[in-house]
């Protein structure tokens, strides 16, 4: 099957079970549900346009940049809700500072992709800036809920960028993706470090659940895998028909 089409249809509004499955994700495991993975084996169809207004991320550099833009919108929205609330119960000064840093970085990343995409492509080829999200079961007042979700978003982001690198066609974009992914990895380690400290698991910052012990390699996922994993958070449907 050469061109696998991934069609993501996220039922709204609330699918708690799907998010729970996402929250069970550890590193490389994939739990997809709450969305439809439609594979089309036909290579001969001329019509790959999704129905009506559903946005497709596209292919090549545009596809990867739109994909990254979607993930950065997700992360930025998550931390925006964390810092716009009163953080979570029991957040220390250090943790508030950490959450504020992550908020700052992810909002910056989001706006970078918006600017970079719009500088290169016409507006109809750029993912809408106003994706809607549903964090369903996440309790923004609960420390464990926030930190666990943050860890999974950051780990997933790392695997997403690692897997998308080979799809990038322009060296400059590859370097920029590299500039961002290592910061996502720094985030993931920091969140994990805080959680690990409480569990006396001081190796959690780069735990065996996310870095393969035998090779020392981090995760790398294809867009379809990432969208399947994080799809439960996206209310606004979009497709990734031309990405693996």
């Amino acid at each position: 099957m050469k061109n696998k089409e991934i069609k993501v249809i996220t039922p709204r509004p609330s699918k708690g079970k799907d998010r729970r499955q996402f929250l069970k994700l550890s590193g490389m495991a994939i739990a997809g549900s709450g969305l439809l993975l439609a594979c089309n084996d036909d290579d001969d169809m001329g019509n790959v346009m999704p129905p009506d207004a559903t946005f497709d991320l596209g292919s090549g550099d545009r596809g990867v940049l739109n994909y990254a833009y979607a993930l950065e919108q997700l992360e930025a929205e998550f931390y925006t809700r964390v810092v716009n609330g009163s953080y979570y119960s029991g957040a220390s000064m250090e943790e508030k500072k950490l959450m504020e840093d992550l908020y700052n970085h992810e909002v910056n990343h989001r706006e970078f992709f918006k600017a970079a995409l719009n500088a290169t492509f016409s507006a109809d080829l750029v993912l809408p800036a106003t994706l809607e999200f549903d964090f369903g079961d996440v309790d923004f007042n609960n420390r464990d809920s926030v930190l666990t979700t943050a860890q999974l978003l950051e780990d997933t982001g790392v695997s997403a960028y690692n897997g998308a690198g080979k799809l990038i066609e322009t060296a400059d974009y590859l370097v920029i993706a590299g500039k961002i992914v290592s910061v996502e990895a720094r985030h993931a380690a920091a969140i994990r470090s805080i959680r690990g400290g409480e569990m006396d698991d001081y190796a959690l910052f780069a735990g065996d659940d996310v870095v393969m012990a035998s090779t020392g390699l981090d995760g790398a996922l294809n867009p379809s895998q990432v969208i399947a994993a994080a799809g439960g958070f996206f209310v606004t449907p979009f497709t990734a028909m031309e990405l693996p």
């Binding site: 970085h105 910056n108 080979k166 060296a171 400059d172 590859l174 990895a185 720094r186 020392g216």
Partner: protein, 284 residues
């Protein structure tokens, strides 16, 4: 292949400096009053900075080899450093309340760096360069394992500072080689390099936090306790323009401050610079 032979073939001006000349360049390191200049390096590996140069100076290498040999050199350095750090007992003796945590962190990082060595050796096969002989005193400047009597407390401080410098360098060095691996073997080398790159970033974040810093780099700041001579590790991190977009101009408020805008992006490092930094710790 011997490391010096490898370096020699890639040296722009064929100048391999001696241990004594390396020592001459060192500035002061912290309270030691000795010298360590990570910044000023007399030779570089021009060939590692671009595929084109590699092709003209060393046609014996396949495209993926120069970037991966550089990676292997850095992994040899890190792997040996963490093994010796753990063997030295310095962390247990000087780590205080943090000793157990610090030992666990070093053990986890050590496991990864040794795995990276094996992984890259497997990838390069018989063409893998041999491990250099390392000198983690950098010609008598440091004593991170307290082998020369500096005392456990100072050794521990150096052991943490060197780890930070090595990890932050590793992140930048892998990033700098990514472009050289594009399109080779259907992206297999690139993906693996990226998978190591993000692990180095996890390590860097944790070591920095263990030292009381943020996990990320603000502007080109080295952070408390890192000597000025290590500035080369951080030079360029203050960049705010990516793909022609100055990210400080994208909005108002805290996400677009100079501080946040530089923290949010790590910068690549050339093969020349990475090699120069590693070379300070290579005896032969």
């Amino acid at each position: 292949m011997n490391i010096i032979k490898f370096l020699d073939e890639f040296t722009s001006d064929n100048l391999i400096n001696t241990a004594s000349s390396r020592r001459d360049m060192f500035g002061t390191f912290g309270n030691m009053g000795k010298k360590a200049a990570i910044a000023a390096i007399p030779f570089g590996l021009g060939a590692l900075s671009s595929k084109a140069k590699a092709a003209t100076t060393a046609s014996m290498f396949f495209d993926h080899e120069a970037p991966l040999q550089l990676a292997l050199t850095l992994e040899y350095l890190e792997a040996e450093f963490y093994l010796k750090a753990l063997d030295s007992g310095v962390i247990a003796r000087a780590g205080g309340a943090n000793a157990m945590k610090a030992e666990a962190i070093y053990a986890q990082i050590s496991k990864h760096e040794s795995a990276h060595v094996s992984f890259l050796q497997d990838t390069l096969g018989e063409d893998s360069i041999e491990s250099p002989t390392f000198d983690f005193t950098a010609g008598g400047t440091f004593d991170p394992f307290n082998e020369n009597g500096i005392g456990d407390d100072m050794a521990y401080a150096q052991l943490l500072a060197l780890a930070q410098a090595f990890e932050d360098t590793g992140v930048r060095a892998y990033k700098g080689q990514a472009g050289n691996l594009m399109g080779l073997a259907e992206g297999a080398y690139l993906t693996a390099a990226l998978q190591i790159h993000s692990v180095e970033a996890r390590h860097a974040s944790e070591i920095r936090r263990l030292r009381g810093l943020d996990g990320w780099i603000t502007a080109n700041e080295r952070g408390a306790g890192i000597p000025a001579e290590a500035q080369a590790v951080y030079d360029g991190e203050e960049n705010t323009t990516h793909g022609g977009v100055d990210v400080t101009t994208l909005g108002s408020g805290s996400p677009f401050s100079m501080e946040a805008s530089t923290q949010a992006y790590d910068e690549p490092m050339s093969g020349d610079t990475a090699t120069a930094i590693a070379s300070l710790f290579i005896a032969s």
